[in-house]
Symmetry: C2
Subunit: 144 residues, 2 copies
Amino acid sequence: MKRQRQAEQMTVLREMLDLRGAHFTRQRAAVFDYLNRVDHHPTAEEVFLAVKQGLPRISLATVYKNLEALVGCGAASKLTYGDGAARYDVRTDHHYHTRCLKCGRITDLEPEAGKQLLKLIKPPRGFKVEDYHLEVLGYCKSCS
Amino acid sequence: MKRQRQAEQMTVLREMLDLRGAHFTRQRAAVFDYLNRVDHHPTAEEVFLAVKQGLPRISLATVYKNLEALVGCGAASKLTYGDGAARYDVRTDHHYHTRCLKCGRITDLEPEAGKQLLKLIKPPRGFKVEDYHLEVLGYCKSCS
DNA sequence: ATTCTTGCAAAAGATTTGCAAACAA
DNA sequence: TTGTTTGCAAATCTTTTGCAAGAAT
């Protein structure tokens, strides 16, 4: 059933890419697959090192291009913090997470609060809301 | 009264720096003063170009060092997004803002919602909350 | 006097780009 | 076939660092 799920995800990915006129490639699939497997939000470098196991000739530039392509077609999202490198995630619908100030690990928060949160937000007149992002900073269990 | 306010701010800055064993310098004061004047959240480059008007010999590295010093003593805060460069702000108590996806301009949101927001946040067990950050993404009046 | 800061140039880290060959549609 | 992607190297952009001279405490 794990395999079937993966196959479904790849079909969905194919469609999402197709809508943007982008091709489905082994490298792209590998990057997407890795993002689906990990439980945290890796940097491009991390993705590169992991995907290289299966595709030894892949380059870091290709990983960057593919992460960009995945974000572009909506299959992944980019999370940027002050720690140098950007992080990537397959989920585009999670806007709530915690980030450890020591180890940098990111974990998702319950999305329940989101609905209520939206009611509280009062953007300035004329501002067209497209998305929102809530980040809770602190120290995780193993770092505190 | 504008001048007096500036003088007060500088006195406060002196104290904040002193607590960390940091010196008060013309360059540092100029960077801090600029952050106090602007209505948006500039990048280090922007600060550099602006401060250079009054201190033509200042270097970009000095601006970076001073922004870091200001953040270190609590006189400023650093805001990091996916658009390449970090942005800085004198206020350290504003965690709610909007960011335009087109021009990158950042404006503050009413902090009222913060109190209620905190009640909604349920971090994982063992996570020690230090800070939080809410960002609303979209298009500002002039860009939409 | 001692310690910190400046300015410069060089270095480092992350990400992007140009291009010819390879691949997907 | 046509347009996109790959891999490589070089380039770019942001930020940091080493160091001697200068400024603040």
